[in-house]
């Protein structure tokens, strides 16, 4: 009898120990991945614009995208590229890649020979509510508030780095279908105070500086409250 009581007590003690350890043994949530989609505009048959130095826009955007991917990868970001070579990718494919990535930031990179500095564009869609099924061509409407917030973070970082920044709203195929905070960034020639050209959009040093600022801005974006794991707009 005494032996049976001892056995029961030992079972109870063991059970209570299991329950006591249960909270500690619960699976720890994996660290939230922070995904950034880098969309190097144009590519393949779509050369984009002609730059003043004779190169094509598609080359400048891919070079900038590769630089930015390296910097973000080194900072622990998970980076998804819409293209990694001189390949033709249509706007629907770009949006599909971005939407499947469940990204917290989507950057569409462009280059132009007009204007100066860096042009930041958010979609000009009217902000709307997110529904289960969003219209494909205006899906970005549900993320407009966060896209404008991301534009603000990028603008602050670029201006803090002493770059000329122009802000705007636009209708851009591909970006308007993205279900993530999305910004189109156009690198224009760098000019001094007298409007004299100091660097073309394809200039490696200029691109390196822009990429470094973007990486810093995305770090800030990541640390902002509510951004981690924020699929919801």
């Amino acid at each position: 009898m005494a032996r049976r009581i001892v056995e029961m007590l030992s079972v109870l003690i063991a059970t209570s120990a299991v329950f006591a350890q249960a909270p500690q043994a619960a699976p720890v949530a994996p660290a939230q991945r922070f995904v950034v989609v880098i969309d190097a505009a144009h590519g393949g048959d779509d050369t984009g614009g002609h730059l003043s130095d004779g190169s094509y826009e598609k080359g400048a955007t891919l070079a900038l995208a590769v630089r930015l991917r390296s910097l973000l990868g080194a900072r622990g970001f998970q980076v998804v590229m819409t293209r990694e070579s001189d390949a033709t990718v249509n706007p629907e494919q770009r949006a599909t890649i971005a939407n499947r990535a469940s990204a917290q930031a989507c950057l569409s990179l462009h280059a132009a020979e007009t204007g100066s500095g860096v042009h930041l564009f958010a979609s000009n869609l009217t902000p709307g509510a997110v529904t289960r099924f969003m219209p494909w061509k205006t899906a970005q409407a549900g993320w407009m508030t966060r896209s404008l917030a991301l534009t603000g973070v990028l603008n602050s970082a670029l201006q803090h780095a002493g770059m000329t920044v122009t802000l705007g709203r636009t209708a851009l195929l591909g970006m308007d279908s993205m279900t993530c905070p999305a910004v189109a960034l156009e690198v224009a020639p760098e000019r001094d105070a007298d409007k004299k050209l100091t660097a073309e959009p394809g200039n490696p040093d200029y691109q390196a500086r822009v990429a470094a600022v973007l990486a810093t801005a995305l770090l800030e974006w990541r640390t902002e409250q509510g951004n981690v794991g924020a699929r919801q707009p």
Binding site: H110, T114, G115, N124, T138, L173, E186
Partner: protein, 212 residues
């Protein structure tokens, strides 16, 4: 001795020659008078289709990504479609000027036609308020204009917004604008600005049209 018959024939021929010379001289004088009369009838001034009116153009600037309202005095037709075409022609003439702040080649001839239709709204902007009198302007641009337009997000966006805002400023019932190129729907103006979308003129005139 000259036979009498030959003498008569000779005089007849001389008289006929003199008469023919006189007739030719008279015809030459008449032709000269007709020519002078034709020159006098030629217009010395270009004809005007209508009296000049004030038109407000939203002129884009690449330097600061803005639209600036500028007033011009233009002879404008009464027909709204022709009026819209004339106003947009003036706007694109400004962009084709050598010292333009938003340089785009092409000029007035780049606008093939402007059609004004009743606006029925669109899915992309279903929340927008609609008035029964709202109109949709369909701007048919020439392919040469799109082909020569500089490629870039900023420059293409400014062209689209300035056209939308200029139309609404001069034809207030125009609430929506669609673009065609050579009569066909085109994906983008020069690789960036979406031309498949119906643009709301209220978007172009709002303060943040070119700023977030």
């Amino acid at each position: 001795m000259i036979p009498r018959l030959q003498a008569v024939l000779f005089f007849i021929l001389v008289i006929a020659s003199l008469v023919m010379g006189a007739v030719l001289f008279h015809m030459r004088e008449k032709a000269h008078d007709r020519m002078l009369a034709g020159q006098d009838a030629a217009p010395t001034q270009a004809p005007q289709v209508a009296a000049p009116e004030q038109a407000r153009l939203s002129v884009a600037s690449d330097e600061d990504n803005t639209l600036r309202a500028q007033a011009y005095s233009l002879p404008l037709p009464v027909d709204p479609g022709a009026r819209a075409k004339a106003i947009l022609g003036k706007l694109l003439d400004l962009y084709a000027a050598p010292d333009a702040l938003h340089p785009v080649p092409g000029g007035a001839s780049s606008v093939a036609e402007v059609f004004l239709l009743p606006a029925h709204g669109n899915a992309a902007n279903a929340a927008a308020q609609k008035d029964p009198g709202d109109e949709l302007a369909v701007v048919n641009l020439k392919g040469s204009f799109a082909a020569s337009h500089p490629s870039g997000l900023e420059t293409e966006t400014l062209t689209v917004l300035s056209i939308c805002d200029t139309l609404h400023a001069n034809l207030p019932r125009v609430a929506e604008v669609r673009f065609l190129v050579d009569g066909q729907v085109r994906e983008s103006l020069a690789g960036h600005a979406d031309l498949t979308r119906t643009y709301l003129t209220s978007d172009a005139e709002r303060p943040d049209a070119t700023k977030p």
